[in-house]
Amino acid sequence: MTNIDCDYLVDYLNGTLSEKENKEFEQHLMTCSECQEIVEATGQLPYLADPVEPPTDMKARILSNVFDETVEQNDQPKALKPAMSPIPIHKKRRKENVWKPLLAAVLLMSLLGNGYAFYQLSDQPAGTETAIQSIELQPNEAFTGTATAAMIEEEGLLNLVVQADQLAELEASQVYQVWLIKDGKPIPAGAFSPNPNGEGASYYQLETTSKEWDTIAITLEPKTGNELPEGQIVLSSEI
């Protein structure tokens, strides 16, 4: 028998019930059509928000952090996992560039020049992730930013990770666009906008397994989603 009833609806929506009360209210919800309908109605309130364009590189940041969390979790003994504790907000994590550890690993590999060492140093099972190439991009003319690109083969797919810093702030619609070029023909390969620290990163999964690109370039595009470059090249390198 439970004392939880319709009076708890507002607390339920506001997330202020204890775990036990929350479960009890959800039991109540199963039997109370009015509370159910109100809960469903509030599920439409977010559509009142005016559309806001997310940052172009947010998806890469968030998904890599989400999957990265899993790796960290797996490293911990299961018994130590706080089963129901609130998830902390990782303010510091986001400000760090998520690709730094990966790029560091890639650069290390590049120095060692030996893929075997990667497997020795990594906890990953052999065959899941292989760094193929890492490239320093050269700034053009007056551009002051720097960028590093890395090709990574993961489970048979080719990924391009670009990390840049010392970038100037962009105007609202502008974006840094990465291109892979073969015989003068560019294909878009990720885009990013810098954070307040002038850092940006993109992660792009290539639809082809071809590695025969001759150039990688970053342009400053007037808008996102360009299939062909409109802006000038700010960083580039032969591959």
Binding site: V10, P46, T70
Partner: protein, 188 residues
């Protein structure tokens, strides 16, 4: 190919299918980011919360049960509660009460997604059926993440009254929304 439902994607996510999580992310990125931006008024914080939401889904901390309603309602509620936690931890300055009452934007937003626009129109019409006081209650409660105590202080009304006003406002919203959806949103 048949489009996956949210629930089938969620089930695949619970089996640690990265592609399914990415698809869910793509479906909800813009609405969640816009909603969180409306709540937090800060793009960085909206991203923080969005990330926490997907970490919770990926880790299985938030458990969705189809029998308790639509996936989107569950997802939005989790996002809202995560944002509220952040607001309360940071003791974010409250929005002046005069501004809080301006719930329905007069701007003509450029909306790319037809579905979004349709829903937005419906919910705006339902909200307009509420009194100014009820609109204010929903805004303070739902979008600004205020506790009942804060709302009671801000509006200078007893705590019990705040709760019953919010419930009444939500109930009326539900009735208006049902009415609009049953007879079609664009009849009037």
């Amino acid at each position: 190919m048949e489009k996956s439902t949210d629930t089938s994607l969620y089930l695949r996510v619970s089996e640690q299918d990265k592609a399914a999580l990415e698809e869910l992310y793509d479906r909800y990125e813009k609405i969640l980011f816009s909603f969180l931006y409306k709540m937090l008024e800060d793009r960085g914080l909206a991203e923080e919360v969005l990330q926490e939401v997907f970490i919770k889904i990926w880790r299985g901390k938030g458990v969705y049960d189809e029998s308790k309603g639509k996936f989107s309602s569950w997802l939005f509620r989790m996002a809202q509660n995560t944002a509220i936690d952040l607001i309360r931890k940071q003791k974010k300055p409250t929005v002046p009460i005069e501004e809080a009452s301006q719930m329905v934007s007069n701007d003509e937003p450029v909306v790319e997604q037809v579905v979004w626009q349709e829903k937005k129109t419906q919910i705006e019409m339902a909200v307009q059926h509420l009194s100014a006081e009820q609109q204010k209650m929903i805004d303070l409660f739902y979008f600004k993440g205020h506790t009942h105590e804060t709302i009671a202080d801000m509006c200078d009304i007893p705590l019990g009254t705040v709760k019953s006003r919010i419930r009444l406002a939500l109930k009326k919203l539900k009735i208006s929304l049902h009415g609009l959806q049953e007879r079609g949103a664009y009849d009037d």
